[in-house]
């Protein structure tokens, strides 16, 4: 899951990026309005959710939101703002935002809202399974035969992406775009490391790996 975050306050941007990355999201950060507008519009379709600060120097979050809506109606947008009147909330939602969070907010609440919007977007529940493997995105939990399995952030994100696209071939370049942030160079060999780690932790002995390698293209998880 890749998140675009626009926030000019470095202290806030810092903990958001850190916290979200620990939750397995790839986070692209812009620290002023102009930069945010540019970055968001350039890779709009790569992002699963967009978090916008309202009051930013240069271009306001409202303007960015309007621009995003011109291009893409579906992508969920959440405003993070210190503006707190009802008028502000209405104005923000009318600009095309899906949700509105007043600062200071609880980080857990932000996560919960992100999950809700992602669920609404995919129209699915946030629980995915493949054979004996079960992933609960909301609880950020993976079990194998009912036993909890510890995964790193990136492992979790990769598994979630593969399960969300169960039955489809996930191209290596797409995986990089979705799981790693914009600063990551496009060396896709890193994926193999994480695929191996997942196979090691989740595969059942004497059986074929639940992640199928499609040579030269990518990977696929089947429902078996």
């Amino acid at each position: 899951m890749r998140i675009f975050l626009a926030e000019d306050e470095t202290a806030i941007a810092g903990f958001l990026k850190e916290g979200l990355e620990e939750e397995g999201f790839a986070v692209d950060l812009a620290t002023n309005g102009r930069e945010a507008l540019e970055m968001a519009m350039a890779n709009l379709n790569e992002y699963d959710i967009i978090l916008l600060d309202w009051m930013m120097p240069g271009v306001s979050g409202i303007e960015i939101c309007r621009n995003i809506r011109k291009e893409n109606k579906a992508i969920p947008v959440i405003f993070l703002t210190a503006k707190d009147t009802v008028d502000d909330t209405v104005f923000g939602l009318e600009a095309g935002a899906n949700d509105y969070l007043k600062k200071p907010f609880a980080f857990e609440e932000l996560l919960a809202r992100i999950r809700v919007l992602l669920r609404n977007k995919t129209g699915e529940q946030n629980i995915f399974e493949s054979g004996n493997i079960l992933l609960n995105a909301e609880a950020h939990q993976v079990t194998k035969n009912g036993q909890a399995v510890e995964l790193t952030q990136k492992e979790f994100a990769l598994l979630e992406y593969l399960l969300r696209n169960k039955g489809k071939v996930c191209r290596r370049t797409r995986i990089i775009e979705k799981i790693w942030d914009i600063h990551f160079d496009k060396d896709t060999s890193v994926i193999d490391v994480f695929i191996n780690a997942l196979r090691k932790k989740l595969d059942t002995k004497d059986r074929e790996s639940f992640i199928q390698t499609i040579r030269g293209v990518g990977y696929r998880v089947n429902d078996n």
Partner: protein, 455 residues
């Protein structure tokens, strides 16, 4: 007694008209009265001359040469515009009495020497009488002549006039009152309209303006004056709202950072170094909050500040400020030059002026370029102090906004320079309190703040 404005106008106007009308009526009555008596008296005098011409005297006794006209109807009858004549000699003996007097006779003053007019009544007939002395050739009074004419007609005329005036007076006033009342209602109808429109304006629709009448009259002026007032209230409400919004934004932002940083920190076990780093971040944010609150309180206190002006040594104040920021100046390798004579003294409030200088120097250090220069100059002719620092410059659009509360340029917001955006607002406020004119100019290489200090 509470009267509406139109009733008051009507009442005052009516009172004024009542006074003038009363005076006019009285004058009319008096003139008519006087002229009618003058007319009667003229008739009496004519008659008197006529009679005196027919009289003769021998020593003290009067001889009447009876003329044929004396037998005329006017002397005989009471009914037809009669003239009454009575002649009495100086022994109070009735010598002649016109027939129409019948058994009556006029009272007379035997000592009368000059002749006078008076009123009397005989048989309910109002008469105007003139009594004149009859003198012989030696000028000795030998009798009294009384001539009377009926004044019934002029009495009626005068009486009618009086009644007419007395009745018409209240009617006139009553009519006048209502006419003025309706005229006044009509005249102040636009005022009522203004009142209705204005009373509908409250906090929520303060941006509404009163409709201006087509004629540029007093009502127009009133409406446009109220509109100007509304604009001023509107802008001050907007400023207040903006201030509250800005202040809450500035307070919430560090709070959000503190809360978020701690929450993320708590989500799992971390290395001691990480805790240390995050705690330091949180302390920085609380410092920021504290600084912001200090400045907000300072601003609030300034709203009711009183200025105590005294002679201050400018050089000394600037030196103190330089000393205060010495550490930061050294860190950025800046050069400070004060080209001001040590003798220059200015008239200002010591504390307030020091706060201004501290803020400006603090800004010069914060936003000045590394290894740059900060220079202080004094122009004695214009009484102006200027503080110039090397900087990347401020755009022309940003310059007028600098003194707004919470305004920070994009560059300063983005950079890691700490600040609340309140410093220059405080400087402006303090300068205004002391009637110091503050101005800022900027080129691509430097920024200058100048303070014109009143003498």
């Amino acid at each position: 007694m509470k009267l509406s404005f139109k009733k008051r106008i009507a009442l005052f106007n009516t009172l004024a008209v009542a006074t003038t009308t009363a005076i006019v009526f009285i004058i009319i009555y008096l003139v008519v009265h006087a002229s009618s008596y003058r007319h009667l008296d003229g008739d009496i005098l004519l008659e008197k001359e006529e009679i005196l011409n027919t009289l003769d005297w021998k020593a003290d006794s009067i001889i009447i040469n009876k003329m044929p006209e004396w037998e005329e109807a006017e002397h005989k009858k009471v009914e037809v515009n009669p003239t009454f004549i009575q002649i009495v000699d100086n022994k109070d003996k009735m010598i002649f009495k016109s027939a129409n007097l019948q058994s009556n006779h006029f009272l007379f003053n035997p000592g009368n020497e000059k002749g006078y007019f008076y009123n009397t009544q005989i048989d309910k007939q109002r008469l105007r009488l003139g009594q004149f002395p009859i003198k012989n050739d030696d000028g000795k009074i030998i009798g009294q002549l009384t001539v009377g004419v009926s004044q019934q007609e002029s009495y009626y005329v005068l009486n009618n006039l009086l009644i007419t005036l007395c009745i018409s007076f209240p009617i006139l006033l009553l009519v006048l009152y209502w006419v003025i009342y309706f005229a006044a209602s009509k005249a102040i109808a636009p005022v009522n309209q203004l009142i209705r429109a204005a009373s509908g304006i409250n906090d929520s629709n303060i941006d509404t303006r009163l409709p201006l009448p087509e004629n540029e009259d007093e009502i127009y002026q009133l409406a446009s004056t109220i509109n100007e007032l509304l604009s001023r209230i509107d802008s001050s409400i907007q400023q207040q709202k903006q201030f509250t919004a800005d202040a809450s934004h500035e307070i919430r932002t560090p709070l959000a950072a503190i809360r978020g940083t701690l929450e993320v920190l708590l989500r799992k076990k971390r290395e001691p170094e990480q805790y240390e780093e995050k705690i330091k971040e949180v302390i920085n944010q609380t410092d920021r909050l504290n600084h912001l609150l200090d400045q907000l309180l300072q601003l609030a206190r300034l709203e009711s500040g009183s200025v105590k002006k005294e002679q201050l040594n400018l050089y000394k104040i600037l030196k103190e400020a330089e000393f205060k920021f010495d550490k930061q100046i050294q860190q950025k390798g800046m050069l400070v030059s004060i080209s001001i004579a040590e003798s220059v003294s200015i008239l200002a409030d010591n504390f307030f002026f020091s706060v201004i200088i501290d803020n400006l120097v603090s800004n010069a250090v914060k936003y000045g370029v590394v290894n740059g220069k900060i220079s202080f100059n004094w122009v004695n002719d214009t009484h102006t102090l200027s503080i110039t620092n090397d900087s990347t410059g401020i755009t022309q659009q940003q310059l007028p906004l600098l003194f707004n509360r919470f305004y920070r340029t994009d560059n300063s917001r983005n950079s890691m320079i700490p600040g609340s955006g309140l410093g220059l607002a405080i400087v402006k406020k303090l300068a205004d309190l002391q009637h110091i004119t503050i101005a800022v100019s900027s080129t691509s290489g430097s920024t200058t703040f100048s303070l014109k200090i009143p003498t």
